[in-house]
Amino acid sequence: MKSFNIALKNIRKSHNDYTVYFFTLIIGVAIFYMFNAIGTQGAMTRVAASGNSLISVLVTVIRFVSVLVAMVLGLLIIYANNFLIKRRKKEFGIYMLLGMSKQVVSTILVWETCIIGFISLLAGLLLGIFGGQFLSILVTRMFEMDVSSYRFEISFKAILMTVISFACIFLVVLVFNVLVVSKKNLIDLIGARKKNEKAALKNPVLSVLLFIISAVLLGIALVRVGIYGMEVHRTEFIIHILIGLVGTFTLFGSMAGFLQKLAEHLGAFYKKGLCSFVIRQFTGNINTSAVSFALITLILFLALCFFSTGFSIRTYLNKRLANATPVDVTIETEGDKPVTDLLAERGIDSAEFFDECLDLPIYQSPRITISTTLGSVLDKAKEQFPLARWNTPENVMTLSDYNQIERMFGRKELSLKENEYAVISSFEMLNTFTNSALEQNNPLEMNSVTLTPGYEYALDEFLLMSETNISLGVVIVPDSVAADPENNFSVSGRFLAGNYSATSSDERYHSDSVLKESLGDSLNMFFDEEGAPHIPVTLATANSVRDSSVGTSVIVVFLVLYIGIVFVIACAAIIALKVLTDSLDSAPRFEILRRIGADEAMRGRALLIQVLLNFLLPLSIAGIYTAFALRFIRDALSAFGALNMISGISTTLVIMLLLYGGYFLTTCFGCNKIIMNSSVH
């Protein structure tokens, strides 16, 4: 029990170092629990209840990612622990010098680890359970769901998973700690001091040179990938990524020498106040931990990319969703039988079932195919989509029919002259080609007349509702053109858009399933003679589109939050621990400053700048990388449409400010305590 008391006392005594360690452990545990408990949280069960399989996908994905996260957290904890233990080797040496046996010292360490593990696991789980509720309220708000189904939930399965994972991690930590004591000789422990500050690169000329080379190569790589990324050849792309990796390390390796030379050349600036001191401290920091800095920068870069892209995609999906469900249900069928007749055959009275409904014909003409609508840009399109079937006839609708839909969907009506046509399409990748064809005034030769585009771009609209809102084109022609028998138009299908007469949410879901059941047989996919898939009936309800879209959003947001937060915490915690332990070394230096007359404000400022630089340097370099990477990501994901990165970036900034800023503040207070306390006497 004596060793237990000593362990307890030790933890209390070195609480400065341990604050950040505890902080990290608790957040780590809480996050691990929160995300593993997601499947059972109220908001999620609501989505799952609507028969959406995406939630079970989310749970599975999170379980897999959790393994990765557990490993990252495990490594972080082991690193942080070793860091703290290393600084205490001398203390253990003194215990032994005073006659304590290795077993007893080991026992003290075992107790320490157990106490820390137990407290942080408990606190983390508590935080996680309450944080989980907060998270599900957030989700409910985010996706405009019904809050009434909200309940306070505790997932025992998630608790068990968290406890087992962290117990394993702490067991490894325990083994490490005991090894440190039992493997070392007394002389090693007593003599353990921080390593001499050896420059990674001593020759200043060489560092300046290497720094400039690294910076230039990195710049080239960033510009090539970020701005010309889509045109860059695959091999070149990989080379640039490698340059980015290696360059980051050499950049940090040579940065100290470069900064020092730069500062000295600035002359007057270097001789102002404590500038020279701060710069020396900072370059010393970079020098001794260039590798850590480079790693932290790269991990932060990944996290920033995750956050920004993820949140941008979410915003995009949500925005799309708002316009994607103008009516309760849309149905597309093949053949010329009206959909209402089809429903009547199955015992559904459309007049009763729908509050309002449109049942319109879709035409085809051998003169209007994907090839003819693309005209002169067809060859370019063929390069991009080598597998497409270019002679497929386009769906055609008459202007008056389509304008009925426009009115029902609440969109602006089209107006076309007697010899004009329009294209509606929300498939952005194809639209670039369609748009240039329309811009070039691509004519459609009919037998009776030659049609020219009435709009010089494809209208971003759709018939059938869909989650991503990507639908292939429909060509709109004047009524007279379709009516003229000379043009050989035939009815190839029907399109129904309707609003249920049912008003409550539950009744609407019920109406959905009634339709699904009655059309059920024909909802399956068929294959035509050539083996191409075609679907005789396609049913899209607002409910299913909304739910699956929410599901996709949820998956994206949660994965991004989960991985991103863990990465950021890992980086911030390592920086914080490094700065705190470094400040133990620099405490005597601050005492000297006090003695030679630097006042408290001056010293406080120097300390703040030093801590700030440590946090900001990797973040700002990662930020620069991210800015270029996001350009590339935006271009690469252009198939989704124009991603508005601003929303993603602003959400990222808020999260970073909270997490990274939290660590920064904690570190500042810790350092202030260490340094200002030590200079009282």
Partner: protein, 256 residues
Amino acid sequence: MTKILEVQHAEKYYGNKGSLTAALNDLSFSVEEGEFIGIMGASGSGKTTLLNCISTIDSLSAGKVLLAGQDINSLRGRKLDEFRSQKLGFIFQEFNLLDTMTARENISLALSIKKEAPEKIDAKIEEVAKTLGITDILHKFPSEMSGGQKQRVAAARAVVTDPTLILADEPTGALDSKASRSLMESLCTLNREKNATILMVTHDSFSASYAGRIIFIKDGKLFNELVREEGESRRDFFKRIIEVTSVLGGEMDEVI
């Protein structure tokens, strides 16, 4: 000659109500401009307490310390820090050089803190480095210097700001005899050529023999005072110091 430093009835007590220890007990003396004064005493005699009180690191329980006519106990906060950087220069037993900076940067920092104009800094450093013979080692880090060199850099840092008073706390305490001699000669040069006022606390009679006047403290009180006569050789002065220290007794015997 003007009085630079006046210590009037200085008293300093440590401990609580139950057991009071007087570290300084009604101690009075004064230092004139351009003087090189040594303060000697055994361990626990109160000489470090005295130095701390003069250097504003500690404050007196009773009495006054006047530096250039100003009562330093009346200074607080920012004014105190300013006073320390403008009026005082320190030389410590453990050198107290910043290990991360070169000799030049260490000296330059003292000027920067005093908000000296950057363009004047280099000239000042060159001048003081020449006086102390450290021009060749200005580019070196403390870890690359010998003890004597470090202490001379520390001395350069102390005097480069032209302080009213230089306080030296056992400056030769961590030096071998050769380095001690060379440092003391440097201090004498500073005293002579730049008219620097130096107050040195030491328990080493050899170092003390370079001073012009020596105050002996015992149990927080003034015990004796020796003044080096005009034309008196350092060797003779040294002998007189030894005589007093042997009377002081106790641990002071070890010094011989």
